[in-house]
């Protein structure tokens, strides 16, 4: 069995912390490896992906693969195209994405990749069990409405929101042993996929409304709900 971690989240420019969704994906994949014993390959795109791959390696991933010119920016459809092409080469039985509940991209990209590969999607997963003999994956999908226990045949795409444990720290031994290893590099030309194109054309940009103050409002609670809706926080 081979597990591929698809690391779509990279640190923002000038940011040193790793996106939590990436750490969650790595941790979840390593937990499955401890359960069943298998190979874990981490995959990322774009030059900034290299840092996340390094982290995956020091946490315990066996191999890393970088599509060096595969950063598609805001083009999620393009991102899914690159990932699908790279994942197809790895022919992994389990493809793991990390997912933050409030992030639209974290939901869109795994669904798009699953569609391209024609694989079942188990998303918003909180508890992951892999049965290599039966070639099945079982997970709890936790949504705002319910907890649904899902079962899917392998190969499958899993988007995980919470692994069993907190993401582990890099191990000193791994830091030492992998000090000189570099990710295997490939390119979109080699994968034979089209470069990304922006999904949207920006007409104008303006800052969000400045601060609001309600001193004597008849329905302050309603104003709060409207404020939350306007900021996408509901």
């Amino acid at each position: 069995v081979r597990i591929a971690i698809a690391l779509t989240q990279v640190p923002a420019a000038g940011e040193r912390a790793f996106p939590r969704a990436a750490l969650i994906a790595i941790e979840a994949a390593l937990e499955v490896r401890e359960q069943i014993g298998c190979e874990v390959v981490a995959l990322a795109a774009g030059t900034r992906g290299a840092a996340v791959l390094r982290r995956a390696e020091t946490m315990g991933a066996d191999r890393t693969l970088l599509v060096s010119d595969g950063d598609m920016g805001d083009d999620r459809v393009g991102t899914s195209r690159v990932l699908a092409a790279a994942l197809l080469r790895e022919s992994a039985e389990l493809i793991v994405f990390g997912q933050m509940p409030s992030d639209a991209s974290d939901a869109i990209v795994p669904a798009a990749v699953a569609r391209r590969l024609g694989l079942p999607l188990v998303s918003r997963a909180v508890a992951l069990e892999v049965d290599p003999e039966a070639a099945r994956v079982r997970a709890v999908r936790r949504t705002e409405v319910e907890d649904a226990t899902l079962e899917a045949p392998l190969p499958a795409v899993v988007a995980i929101t919470a692994p069993a444990h907190r993401p582990r720290y890099p191990s000193l031994y791994r830091l030492r042993d992998t000090a000189s290893t570099r990710p295997t590099e490939t390119s979109i030309a080699e994968l034979d996929v089209a470069p990304g194109e922006p999904a949207a054309i920006v007409r104008q940009r303006r800052p969000l409304d400045t601060r609001q103050r309600l001193d004597t409002d008849a329905e302050p609670a309603r104003r709060i709900v409207e404020f939350l809706a306007a900021r996408g926080l509901l």
Binding site: A114, T149, E151
Partner: protein, 331 residues
């Protein structure tokens, strides 16, 4: 044939108001709109989609479970048949995943976090929220079909007596898109998140008045899917456990939303939460320093404002609540 399809998500035997509101908005800006209802009892649910001329109802057995893949395929098939240019979805966990599958199936363009949708000539124009930059961005689509995901609670359904024509459609769903089986379903137990995991934090200060005020903080945090924080003053008075302390001597937190209830905003506390992206403060004291840096400053008694706020948020979730149990307080 309609040029715009709006996915109407089912919720507790009816249709979710966010989808209906989006449907009515699309009609009002002049598109030829059809609603799409997918799932069990689609046809009978469709009847509540008033104010539109046509609703497509798909109730293939593969659509019975609330999972995205079969829905994305059915919707893609409908876009192919109708030649629709626009597919509008009101964001939910399910709808966002449907949008992803749909975009890959049709090589369409997805724009998410939309707070306004307008029509400018023939062009669909969206205003989307760029939370990271704190900007509103006006965009048009570079690719068709245009797939739009709108933010929750942005469009209110409008009353209408116009009854839709309901057209049943059946579409074969490929086996791979229906390979996931639901073994068990149970209502979710809402739990407070830990401060390390929470993207929403509700904080209580001395102004909440006592431990009972913190029950209110917890109730609101549950409703918002977040965790609870406390100021040094509140912890000092033993109103809430020290593990929740945010500030100079406690934790530092930088959630997407920080709701400060009865918090004065002393520097000690501010140091622990100043990186929160959005801050809402409710305080009785109009001169509270926290109002100097809150994005939304509400002068008022939390015992008036918060219960009503919880009520409104619950009403929004409507039918979901009926089947839900409330979890134990995670203190």
């Amino acid at each position: 044939m309609p040029d715009t399809l709006v996915l109407l998500e089912q919720r507790g035997g009816g249709l979710h108001p966010d989808g209906l509101g989006l449907l009515h908005h699309a009609v009002s800006i002049g598109y030829d709109v059809a609603g799409v209802v997918l799932g069990e009892d689609a046809a009978s649910c469709s009847r509540s989609a008033s104010g539109v001329r046509l609703v497509y109802a798909g109730d293939a057995p593969e659509l019975a479970d609330p999972l995205p893949q079969a829905r994305a395929e059915a919707l893609a098939e409908l876009v192919r048949r109708t030649g629709a240019d626009n597919v509008l979805l009101a964001a939910s966990e399910l709808a966002t995943e449907v949008a992803g599958g749909l975009a890959a199936a049709l090589e369409g363009g997805v724009v998410d976090s939309i707070v306004e949708l307008a029509r400018d000539g023939g062009e669909l124009v969206a205003t989307r929220l760029d939370s990271a930059a704190g900007d509103l961005v006006e965009v048009t689509w570079a690719r068709q079909p245009r797939i739009a995901l709108t933010c929750r609670g942005r469009f209110e359904p409008r009353g209408s007596s116009r009854q839709p024509h309901i057209e049943k459609f059946d579409c074969p769903v490929d086996p791979w898109a229906a390979a996931v089986r639901v073994a068990e379903r149970r209502p979710v137990t809402r739990e407070l998140r830990t401060l390390a995991d929470a993207t929403t934090v509700v904080a209580g200060g001395r102004g909440v008045g006592g431990p009972a005020g913190f029950r209110l903080c917890e109730e609101l945090a549950l409703e918002l899917g977040g965790g609870v924080a406390a100021t040094g003053a509140a912890v000092g008075l033993q109103w809430y456990p020290r593990s929740a302390l945010v500030g100079q001597t406690g934790r530092t937190t930088a959630p997407a939303l920080y709701v400060a209830l009865g918090v004065s905003g002393a520097l000690h506390h501010r140091l622990g939460m100043q990186d929160a992206r959005t801050l809402i403060a409710v305080n009785r004291d109009p001169r509270a320093p926290i109002f100097e840096f809150a994005d939304l400053a509400v002068v008022g008694d939390i015992h008036d404002v918060v219960p009503r706020l919880i009520e409104l948020l619950r009403a929004r979730r409507g039918a979901d609540m009926k089947q839900e149990e409330t979890g134990a307080w995670a203190t």
